[in-house]
C-alpha cells in the first residue's frame, strides 16, 4: 500500500494505491491520522489506484470518519475501481462515506 497526500485549501486529498488488508491496516491508520489536521474541512480518499480493501481497512475508514465528524469535517471517497466499489456497496460503507465518480465531483460536493 502507498499513500500520497496533497492539500487543496482546507481539504486533504489522499491518493491510495495497492492493497489495504490486515497486514498493513495499522500503517494505513497511522499514515492517515498523521496527515489529517485540525483545520481540515474535508478529506477525500482517491481510490483510483486502490486494488483491494479488507474489513480491517474499512474499520480504519470508519474510525477516521468518526473522528472527522467530531471536528465537523467530511470524509469522501472517489474514483473507486469496480471491485472496491463492490466492497463498499456490499458492506454498506457507501452510506457512511459518500463516494463520487471523480476527484472533481468530490471537491465540488465539499463546496456545496
Amino acid at each position: 500500500m502507498e499513500l500520497k497526500t496533497t492539500r487543496e485549501g482546507t481539504n486533504l486529498i489522499v491518493d491510495m494505491e495497492g492493497r489495504v488488508d490486515g497486514t498493513n491496516a495499522m500503517d494505513f491508520q497511522s499514515a492517515l491520522e498523521g496527515a489529517i489536521q485540525q483545520s481540515d474541512q474535508g478529506v477525500i480518499m482517491d481510490m483510483g489506484q486502490l486494488q483491494y480493501i479488507s474489513s480491517a481497512g474499512l474499520r480504519v475508514i470508519l474510525l477516521v470518519a468518526k473522528s472527522l465528524q467530531k471536528q465537523n469535517a467530511k470524509l469522501l471517497g472517489c474514483a473507486l475501481s469496480e471491485s472496491v466499489r463492490e466492497i463498499f456497496a456490499i458492506s454498506g460503507f457507501d452510506k457512511i462515506v459518500p463516494v463520487h465518480d471523480s476527484r472533481a465531483d468530490a471537491l465540488k460536493a465539499l463546496e456545496d
Binding site: 488488508d21 490486515g22 474489513s55 474499520r59 470508519l62 458492506s91
Partner: protein, 390 residues
C-alpha cells in the same frame, strides 16, 4: 481439546427436582471417575448463591428456570454480579423461547431443553468450559502485555470455542458448517440455532480487526445474535436489535458483517436479512443457481438506529443454500487472482451435492484447488443448509 483433558472442573447443578442429582451422577459417571467433572447440587437460586459464595472453585452452573424461592433467571443476574467469569447453561422446557431469550440476555452462555439429553448436555458443558477458558485467557492477555503471536493464539481459541460442533438435521433438512482459520488475521464465526415452531436460525459473520479485542467483540456479537434470534422471528428485526446493542458503546469502531436467515423446514420458506455481508447462493438440484436478492442493510455496530430489510425465498426440495464469508470469494492464487463469485457459482455445475456436508466440502475443495497452495490471508467459512427431497 486434548491439552485440557487432564484439567478438572467443578459444576454446580441447580434444580428442584430430587431425581436430577442421582441421574446426573449416574449419567456423567465416566467423566466423574476420570476426574474431569465434579458436581455440587442446589435446589433453588438461594441455595445456589450460598454454595457459590462458599466455594470459589466452581467453574460453571447448570440451572433449571422454574424453581421455588429464587428462579433460574434471577439467579443468572445475581451470578453475573457475583463473578462475571462464571459460565451458566440454562435448562428450560422445550419451546420456552421467551425464558431462553431472557436467559441469554442475562448472560447465559447456552441452553439445553427438557427432557434432558445427557449426551447433548455433555457436549454443551464441554463447549462452555472451553469458552470460559479462552475467555479467561483473553482477559488476562488484554491486561498483560503479551506478544502479538500469543494474543493471536488466544483470539483463535476464543473463536473456535464459539463455533457449533453439532449441526441440526431433521425431517427434510440438514445443516453443516466449517471454518478454516487464517494464521494471523480473521474473525469469522457462524451459528445454527433451534427456534420456536421447529424453525432454524442460521448466522454467518465476519468481525473486522484482529487479536483479543476483536475476539471479545466476536463473543458479544455471537451472544447478542443468539439472544435476539431466539426472541424475534423476523431477521431484519433481529439484526436491528443486535446492531443497536453493539453500536451503543463502540469506541474502537469494530464492526461485524452478518447474514442471518430463518428457515422453516415444514415449508422450505427462508427469510433473511443482511448486515453488509456477502450474499448467499442457492444451488438447485440441476446444478444451476441463484444469488439471493440484495436487501438493504449496513454492517453491524457502525451506526445505531439502522433498518434492515427482510428478504424471502423458498427452497425447493434438493436445493442447497450456501452461506460463506469473503475468505471464500477473495481467496487468491499465486498470481493474486481472486476465486470470485463466478467460480463459486460453478462449483456444482456438474451436479448437485448429495448432502449439506458434501456441499460444504465441495466449496472448500474448489477453493483449495484454485489457490493451489498460495498462502491463506483470511478465514474461510462456509455454512450450508440443504432441503432434502425428490
Amino acid at each position: 481439546m486434548s491439552e485440557s483433558e487432564s484439567e478438572s472442573y467443578k459444576i454446580l447443578v441447580v434444580d428442584d427436582e430430587p431425581d436430577v442429582e442421582p441421574l446426573m451422577l449416574q449419567r456423567m459417571r465416566r467423566h466423574i471417575r476420570s476426574g474431569r467433572y465434579s458436581f455440587v447440587f442446589a435446589q433453588n437460586g438461594i441455595e445456589a448463591l450460598e454454595v457459590l459464595n462458599n466455594d470459589a472453585e466452581i467453574d460453571m452452573v447448570v440451572s433449571d428456570i422454574n424453581m421455588p424461592r429464587m428462579d433460574g433467571l434471577t439467579l443468572l443476574s445475581q451470578i453475573s454480579e457475583l463473578n462475571p467469569d462464571l459460565r451458566a447453561v440454562i435448562v428450560s422446557a422445550y419451546g420456552d423461547m421467551k425464558n431462553i431469550r431472557t436467559a441469554m440476555n442475562r448472560g447465559a452462555f447456552d441452553f439445553v431443553t427438557k427432557p434432558l439429553d445427557f449426551d447433548d448436555l455433555q457436549v454443551t458443558i464441554e463447549r462452555t468450559l472451553e469458552n470460559m477458558k479462552a475467555w479467561k485467557e483473553a482477559l488476562s492477555s488484554r491486561d498483560k502485555l503479551v506478544s502479538l503471536q500469543r494474543e493471536l493464539d488466544v483470539a483463535s481459541q476464543m473463536q473456535q470455542s464459539i463455533l457449533p460442533t453439532q449441526f441440526p438435521r431433521g425431517d427434510g433438512f440438514e445443516t453443516f458448517g466449517s471454518m478454516e482459520p487464517a494464521r494471523n488475521v480473521g474473525g469469522d464465526f457462524f451459528d445454527v440455532v433451534l427456534l420456536d415452531d421447529g424453525q432454524i436460525g442460521l448466522a454467518i459473520a465476519d468481525v473486522s480487526g484482529k487479536g483479543v479485542p476483536a475476539a471479545l467483540f466476536m463473543m458479544s456479537s455471537r451472544t447478542l445474535l443468539k439472544g435476539s434470534a431466539i426472541g424475534l422471528t423476523e431477521p431484519g428485526k433481529v439484526l436491528r436489535e443486535v446492531n443497536n446493542l453493539l453500536a451503543e458503546d463502540n469506541e474502537s469502531a469494530m464492526f461485524v458483517t452478518v447474514l442471518y436467515a430463518v428457515y422453516d423446514p415444514a415449508t422450505g420458506h427462508l427469510s433473511y436479512a443482511n448486515g453488509g455481508h456477502n450474499l448467499p447462493v442457492i444451488f438447485h438440484g440441476d446444478g444451476s443457481c441463484i444469488v439471493l436478492p440484495y436487501t438493504e442493510g449496513l454492517a453491524l455496530a457502525v451506526l445505531a438506529g439502522m433498518e434492515f430489510d427482510t428478504g424471502e425465498v423458498t427452497l425447493a426440495p434438493g436445493d442447497t443454500l450456501v452461506l460463506y464469508t469473503d475468505g471464500v470469494t477473495e481467496a487468491m492464487d499465486a498470481e493474486n487472482v481472486e476465486f470470485g463469485m463466478e467460480r463459486l457459482q460453478a462449483v456444482f455445475a456438474s451436479g448437485a451435492p448429495e448432502s449439506a456436508e458434501a456441499a460444504n466440502e465441495a466449496v472448500f475443495a474448489a477453493v483449495r484447488e484454485f489457490v493451489a497452495g498460495a498462502p491463506q490471508s483470511d478465514d474461510i467459512t462456509c455454512l450450508t443448509l440443504r432441503r432434502i427431497g425428490a
